[in-house]
Amino acid sequence: MPAGTLYRGREGMWSWVAHRVTGVLIFFFLFVHVLDTALVRVSPEAYDDTVAIYKTPVVALLEYGLVAAILFHALNGLRVIAVDFWSKGPRYQKQMLWSAVGIWFILMVGALYPVLGHAVREVFGS
């Protein structure tokens, strides 16, 4: 660790970094998502043609990444709230982070089939 840095490493810093990175990614997607939804005011065809992009296998992978970012940001956000408002929050911040990561992992396994199933069928046929 370089001298004089504010960064302390370990769970506290890395969860903070991941919270920022996922937050920025989600926010940039939100701009795109409002724009694509706005196409319902242009024509049904314009909207359906654009949404078709969301159904392609490559974008399905990006959607899986989006789900990963949102679920981490949500779970870690609840941890941040607990650290701020629960008297024992700061003491258990590490345990809460690993609990959040555990729940995140289980949810990501659960999201595999619903989010990526159609892409797998399209790529490998069935």
Partner: protein, 163 residues
């Protein structure tokens, strides 16, 4: 003990002070004001509690967004065929109900404001020059207002019989 008594009777706790005091009852020492005491020369408060309100907003909107966004993901990406079922007809079916209109409108506003405040914090942290911060935040606020207005307009003016 008795020798100590003799000392305390004749001297104060401060001990011996050299020279005559400049001040007495008729010539009191000037009053030193307490630090941070407000006078009529103090500038009026220029900062309110904005940062505290923003901090609180992040936590309150965050809790609501967890429910709104995870519900949204379940409906759009998981249930009933996942992303494959989404199309103009699906949107028309959902926005026929005021419940989903309010859901989506609330999600739009809270997510945009939550994200905009997050990015404002990041710009303040990493953009070191005042001019850079000014321009980045100008761009951020412009894009945020535009997107919130566009999204709200789409929800309020949606027409299922556009064609």
């Amino acid at each position: 003990m008795s020798s100590n008594n003799a000392v305390t009777e004749t001297s104060s706790a401060i001990g011996v002070v050299e020279g005559e005091s400049l001040y007495d009852v008729d010539h009191p020492a000037p009053v030193i004001e307490a630090p941070r005491q407000r006078t009529n020369k103090t500038p009026k408060a220029t900062r309110g509690n904005f940062e505290m309100a923003a901090w609180l907003f992040m936590r309150l909107s965050g809790v609501v967004l967890v429910v709104l966004v995870i519900g949204h993901l379940l409906i759009q990406l998981v249930l009933d065929g996942g992303v494959s079922k989404i199309g103009f007809a699906f949107v028309a079916g959902r926005w026929a109900s005021p419940f989903w209109q309010v859901w989506d409108l609330l999600m739009l506003w809270l997510a945009m404001l939550h994200g905009a405040n997050g990015l404002r914090t990041i710009i303040n942290d990493y953009a070191e020059r005042a001019n850079t911060r000014l321009w980045l935040k100008g761009l951020l606020y412009t894009a945020t207002v535009f997107t919130i207005l566009l999204g709200s307009l789409v929800i309020f003016t949606f027409d299922p019989n556009i064609r």
